[in-house]
Symmetry: C2
Subunit: 342 residues, 2 copies
């Protein structure tokens, strides 16, 4: 069995270039007892992958040069040497940017195609949705009537944050790039207000959208957007920090002065809580509630989601660049293959 | 009744100058029903007062120009029109930098001179001690075997933080300025290690003192010390922020680049908790435990304290400058008068 793979060829300095990736074909080993052979249907592309391309210290080991790029997938079992999985099963796996893989059956989770479209296991009912749910509820703890602000609000995490905040009775304000995404926030996701971070009057726009100040800021962007939000924090505001995409490519222009002392003064004078997290932390405490609540919200239309599906594995690097630049709308997926049935 | 007062004459730009204060005499009003006349015995000098001299936004209103400088005092009741207080009672009050005051009896708390020296109500058993206790236990939550670091460790808050951490089974590492203070940390307060922040090898010294990394950093200093500590944070480390004295006079040289993005990256990759606080927040949840536990620790020698007593109200401005510059050791008090008995 052969697998088409996209491997890390070199570590990007800023935006990942085509030359940082290489396409190759590998001969997969025969499955051993307990293993399954998987054919990738959908590959999830997510901002965290930029961190894995770098060898700067982080919460996870980097992808090695010459190794397959990591990533979560929805895959079909095409051969099985485990009683846990049958040929034709659709599973969630972590096999990365490649067409096929051989893995332990225990490293897969079976999906029920009749419960929800299987691709949602990579989005609203998967890691991005849980990142929103866990971070917002465990750290942000929005109360009814409070104001929750989230940036990258048209993305899969941000749109879930806003809709969960609404479901919990809070006011949701989304920040996104451009009028089209801002309209989407209001019309599709039901945010109470939308602010365009490219606006020359961002400060005033944000003030108008948050007349009672800001109680929770779900931070997944960083940069100048965060700086404006922090100015409007109420006392005891909470700031779950789950990503800093603005800085991932080194693209956010540095301020020409040290903003840290001013930030810390505000932490002190407003009794702020700033808390970094990776969603894994909340699996033991929040995963069961997430599955139950979020499935219900998706089923009854309380929480909506969009998918941005790119065809063919070869297009993954270009799509990934677009993700980092904020060019896509909705959960970015690469459709690697159609289910075969077998 | 006349009161000698030290008033705010102008707002300091950096270090408070003599000309920022004025000494004046005021004729106090006759006490009304429910009021008492107080004679100040001890005035507490604390870093937060620098913030009140400024009109930058903060958690409390600034002292107005021409108003008496604020401050907590231990005072003697010299006349009473309240059945709550008798002449000769020693009380905790908030009458500021002056020799006498007329206040509502309900704004005072009676002290028991037989339980502990009354001056401790301004220090180890008062606001500084409670700042250490509340911030360390409510936010820092040190577990046995974890490493707690505190700067300004020879001061009244820092020395209490270290000793409470030890009482809770954690390893205590203190940072202070100069070999004399560092010796005090080890010999008097029982810290496990002491680091001199003036050392040219601060980074290496801190690494040697914290071989297992840092789990809690009680932040009351800011500046370059904090930057070094943050580098050694373990995953899930907690950082209660109760003060930033290094920046209070604008004296800490600014970094020549923006340190905020790097700080936020560390918050993210280490799942850090950064939490500002003012001790009032924890009064409802922690004051009773503090009084019980801390009184016991002080009585049995588990927690030690030092006082640095300056004679005469007129010397308060100079003593306050010394406090901001780190020149004093122990809780800084101005002895305004001896108890008269009446």
């Amino acid at each position: 069995m052969k697998s088409t793979q996209i491997r890390l060829a070199s570590r990007p300095v800023a935006e990942p270039l085509d030359s940082d990736f290489e396409v190759a074909t590998a001969e997969l080993p025969e499955p051993e007892e307990g293993q399954v052979v998987l054919r990738t249907l959908h590959l999830s592309l997510d901002p965290y992958m930029r961190g894995r391309m770098s060898d700067a210290p982080s919460y996870a080991a980097p992808v090695g040069i010459g190794e397959v790029m990591v990533g979560q997938t929805v895959s079909e079992v095409v051969a099985s040497r485990s009683e846990r999985r049958e040929v034709g099963d659709i599973v969630l796996a972590y096999t990365g940017w490649q067409s096929h893989a051989v893995v332990d059956a225990r490293a897969t989770r079976r999906l029920d195609p009749s419960a929800a479209p299987v691709s949602t296991a990579l989005g609203v009912l998967g890691m991005p949705g849980f990142t929103a749910y866990g971070g917002l509820l465990a750290i942000g703890q929005p109360k009814a009537g409070e104001t929750v602000v989230v940036a990258a609000a048209a993305g899969p995490v941000g749109s879930a944050v806003g809709q969960i905040a609404k479901a919990k009775g809070a006011r949701a304000v989304g920040i996104a790039g451009g009028p089209e995404k801002c309209r989407l926030l209001l019309d599709e996701y039901g945010f109470d207000a939308a602010v365009d971070h490219r606006s020359p009057t961002l400060r005033e726009d944000l003030a108008a959208a948050t007349p009672d100040g800001i109680d929770v800021y779900f931070e997944n962007v960083g940069g100048h957007v965060a700086a404006e939000v922090v100015r409007r924090f109420n006392t005891y505001a909470r700031m779950p920090v789950c990503g800093l995409i603005a800085g991932y490519n080194g693209g956010e222009p540095m301020a020409d002065f040290d903003r840290l002392p001013g930030f810390m003064r505000r932490v002190l004078t407003k009794s702020l809580t700033v808390r970094g997290f990776i969603q894994d932390e909340f699996v033991p405490t929040h995963w069961a509630d997430f599955q139950r609540e979020m499935s219900g919200w998706v089923a009854d239309g309380t929480v909506r989601y969009r998918e941005d599906v790119v065809d063919s594995l070869e297009n993954a690097p270009e799509a990934f660049r677009g993700l980092l630049a904020g060019r896509n709308v909705g959960k970015l997926l690469v459709k690697v293959a159609d289910p075969a049935g077998v």
